[in-house]
């Protein structure tokens, strides 16, 4: 999923400055060496009922131009889709699958057939009841190439056929075992849309999608605002949230404010109550402001990779050079430059909030300039030019990184550039328009690829980013920008994808991450965060277990005095 196009600067240290007015502060990102970060259940479940009524004004950095969440791959659509759509299943805070619109499910021993029992009494906003046929129509829509879904089709690629067993029993048939199936179905992009709308008026989904969620889109003005009104008959929040009945808020207005400064100013002035894409550069000010609250969450999936090497290109086709590159980077020093103390440094290939994350096996990637120098010397790059850059056979040790700064993460490259120069590597930043970057990615015409991340709610994110079949020139227009095709790693990731016992999965993902630490196709630099800020009278916020984005059915306004 793409990060919203906002000016995020990378910030790489943990910070302890929680504002006095903050009713709750998230656990700080774990320091290096810790394993998985667990947020408490309380962040995902309602503590006590709130007061009904009122309008919440939310600001977001961008408008996708469409509200059809099933077609998008955009990061901004996650929380918006949750307001209006519900998924079949929901994760718990540890990543296990729990009920939502499906109250129960079974998986056949061969992993090819998933049978779902649906919750009775659920309706879409147009009155259409949720039944097995509705689920079938939705999955078929996503699966159909003519729908042109940018990501969801790939996420359920093994799904071949839906079967309506009876009114409330749906069976999904897969072509091959695919363990992440339930995880991806829990994501916001798989929220169900009224089958009536899909069949009779699919062209209206982009501007007024009809889901079964707690809010209904009542007005959408592109680039301006989305107005959502609550459904008074809503009664099927994920059981894990502990929320019963309709949302508390009467109305939500989502305004698009592309400029980070405008968003902050509007929040401070009280024109908006809640910021998605809170500007990191204002985090310290917001944290110290008793009227405001700042929350910082680490997303599941893959962390930010500062650099992804094209492993086919000399001289960095040599894993020793790539490891040396990783060792040369002091991620804490990166943070002292552009850092705003919100983004946590990491060397791991999975994010801190993702199951099976392993920090032990990635220790060699940690900051060790002496080790970096030794590796580079051993690889035959002992000589240095007048500018301090290493030379071998008359060639300078240079790496050109291709980037478009489409995700606003490029500042980290400047930091990396000065770090690796200290060990004699010349990093050249090749900034091009995003379309050129995409084209050159397809052709493999680059030495390294700029900062990026891939968020998904399963460790299968490793398959998406590093498996040989995910190269851009492969069967998917994939996200494997390193063009790695390592038979050993591919076998491990493919086995994990087919599914196994938790013990076996732990072993598989450990060896996958260990193999990645040997190959170093990419260099993780920091976690990928969700930043939100809101006024202190906004209460009851809980987070989505798949995306760590806000859920709004439990939010209420504490405005008794005003």
């Amino acid at each position: 999923m793409r990060p919203a196009a906002i000016t995020l600067a990378l910030m790489l240290t943990a910070c302890s400055a929680a504002g006095a007015g903050n009713p709750s502060s998230d656990p700080r990102p774990p320091a290096a060496g810790f394993d998985r970060l667990s947020y408490p259940r309380a962040d995902y479940a309602e503590a006590k009922p709130g007061m009904a009524g009122g309008t919440l004004v939310v600001a977001a950095a961008r408008d996708n131009g469409t509200l059809d969440w099933q077609l998008l791959a955009d990061t901004n659509s996650k929380w918006l889709a949750r307001m209006t759509g519900d998924s079949l299943v929901y994760l718990d805070e540890q990543g296990a699958i729990t009920p939502w619109l499906a109250t129960a499910w079974t998986v056949s021993p061969d992993g090819l057939v998933y049978t779902f029992t649906l919750r009775d009494g659920v309706t879409f906003a147009d009155g259409t009841p949720l039944d097995a046929e509705a689920v079938r129509v939705n999955l078929d829509r996503i699966r159909n190439p003519a729908t042109r879904a940018a990501m969801t089709t790939a996420y359920i690629a093994p799904y071949v056929r839906g079967e309506v067993v009876d009114r409330l029993t749906f069976r999904a048939h897969l072509s091959e075992p695919y363990a992440p199936f339930l995880n991806v179905l829990a994501q916001a992009w798989f929220g169900l849309i009224s089958p009536k709308q899909i069949r009779e008026a699919p062209e209206t989904i982009a501007t007024a999608p009809i889901g079964s969620g707690p809010f209904v889109v009542t007005r959408y003005v592109r680039q301006q605002e989305v107005v959502l009104t609550r459904r008074t008959d809503y009664a099927w929040s994920p059981p894990l949230t502990g929320h019963k009945g309709p949302a508390y808020l009467e109305r939500i207005i989502v305004r698009t404010l592309p400029e980070a400064l405008s968003r902050y100013t509007a929040l401070k002035a009280g024109e908006v109550d809640f910021l998605n894409d809170a500007p990191a550069q204002k985090a310290a000010i917001i944290r110290s402001d008793p009227e405001l609250v700042f929350r910082n969450r680490i997303n599941l999936g893959n962390p930010v990779r500062g650099i992804t090497f094209n492993v086919d290109r000399a001289p960095f086709n040599d894993p020793r050079l790539r490891l040396a590159f990783a060792k040369a980077i002091d991620r804490n020093a990166l943070s002292r430059g552009p850092g705003f103390a919100e983004y946590a440094p990491t060397t791991a290939f999975l994010s801190a909030s993702t199951p099976y994350r392993d920090t032990a096996v990635v220790k060699p990637l940690g900051y060790d300039p002496a080790g970096a120098n030794r590796l580079l010397d051993a690889a035959g790059w002992q000589a240095r030019g007048a500018d301090g850059i290493r030379v071998k056979d008359g060639k300078r040790l240079r790496l050109a990184v291709l980037t478009s700064n489409a995700n606003g993460l490029d500042q980290v490259l400047v930091g990396i550039q000065s770090e690796v120069r200290k060990v004699g590597i010349d990093l050249a930043i090749d900034l091009v328009p995003v379309a050129q970057q995409t084209e050159r990615r397809r052709l493999g015409n680059y030495e390294a690829f700029g900062p990026g991340y891939w968020h998904t709610n399963t460790p299968d994110g490793l398959y998406i980013v590093y498996h040989g079949k995910q190269r851009d020139d492969g069967p998917y227009r994939g996200q494997n920008n390193s063009r790695l095709a390592d038979p050993q790693l591919d076998a491990i990731l493919a086995e994990a994808r087919r599914g196994a016992s938790p013990e076996r999965l732990a072993a598989l993902y450990r060896s996958a991450q260990a193999r990645l630490a040997e190959l170093v196709p990419a260099i993780p630099t920091s976690e990928n965060h969700t930043l939100v800020a809101y006024r202190a009278d906004v209460r009851g916020l809980i987070f989505d277990t798949s995306h760590n984005t806000p859920r709004f059915e439990t939010v209420w306004l504490d405005r008794r005095g005003s």
Binding site: R2, A5, G65, A73, A157, Q224, Q436
Partner: protein, 310 residues
């Protein structure tokens, strides 16, 4: 007869300009925008399957050679069809029309305000000797040198954040127009004021001004009734420039103040390689330039008899 012939020539050259713009943008976009199928599917951060990519290729005729695509595109253009936006999946024409009103309101008000400020500055400032004139010029140069964005942020901090007189951003009522209008109007008014003032400086030295003064006409009367009329013509020729300035300024102001509009649509479309949208807006902008310069020339001919001979 002459007027008709002039009109016909101008219209023909206008059509030529539009064709050139269409062709150049088509070529430029296809040369730089990479694989349109990927752009249609959301750019580098999408994860489309090959089947979806092929479906898009077939649907948009992207497998045809570029000349065939160009011919098909021109054909559609001739019938007035600008195509469908890759990103929004709505017709380009309706997407432009959807955003147009907002830009016209913003640009229109800013243009009128800019003209008023320029007239005021020029009438008060002209012919005041080198000291006052130099001081005014200095201020003008500074303002012209400050980027639009900085002016906008400065105004936002002062008026919205410190004084809380107007909303920070958005389109909630007339008050939210204040910041974008000022941000747009101030720099363009300075440009106009400079031209107008130097013209006035010159006119005020003319013998007929001396005559007017000798008739006992007051200073305000001299400036407004006599000098201004002569200074307006160069301002008129500046209208095309100001029009472009306002249009270009909307890109920044619409984004900064979160307004809908053509400028923001153009930025979003360019960033996402939305080829039909970018070409559509380029054509639209070219068309408005053609119309504006035509109208300006007609007015100039009506105001100044000398222009008719040219």
């Amino acid at each position: 007869m002459t007027l008709l012939r002039t009109l016909a020539t101008r219209l023909a050259s206008g059509v030529l300009v539009l064709w050139i713009v269409a062709t150049l943008t088509f070529g430029a976009m296809h040369a730089t925008a990479g694989d349109p199928a990927i752009a249609i599917l959301g750019g580098p951060d999408a994860l489309p399957t090959q089947a979806v990519v092929e479906e898009v290729r077939r649907e948009y005729g992207l497998n045809d050679p570029l000349p065939v695509q160009y011919a098909r595109y021109l054909g559609r253009l001739l019938s007035g069809d600008l195509g469908e936006s890759y990103r929004l999946r709505t017709p380009v024409t309706s997407a432009i029309l959807e955003q147009l009103g907002s830009t016209v309101v913003l640009g229109g008000i800013a243009g009128v305000l800019a003209l008023a400020i320029a007239l005021g500055l020029a009438l008060v400032g002209a012919g005041r000797g080198p000291r006052v004139g130099g001081a005014i010029t200095a201020v003008e140069v500074v303002i012209t040198a400050v980027p639009n964005f900085v002016i906008g942020v400065g105004l936002m901090f002062l008026l919205a954040f410190q004084l809380r007189l107007v909303p920070v951003a958005g389109e909630q009522g007339w008050a939210s127009l204040v910041l974008p209008v000022l941000t747009l109007a101030i720099p363009s008014s300075i440009v106009m004021a400079q031209v107008l003032r130097s013209e006035l400086d010159e006119v005020l030295e003319q013998p007929f001004i001396l005559t007017a003064r000798a008739r006992g006409l007051g200073e305000a009367g001299v400036r407004v009734l006599h000098a201004l009329r002569h200074a307006v013509i160069p301002l008129l020729t500046l209208a095309g420039y100001v029009f472009g300035f306002l249009l270009g300024g909307t890109v920044i102001t619409e984004t900064l103040f979160a307004r809908r509009g053509i400028g923001r649509l153009m930025v979003d479309s360019a960033l996402t390689s939305d080829i039909p949208m970018v070409i559509g807006i380029s054509l639209f902008i070219a068309l408005s330039y053609v119309l504006v310069t035509l109208i300006v020339d007609l007015i100039a001919a009506a105001v100044d008899p000398r222009a008719r001979l040219a």
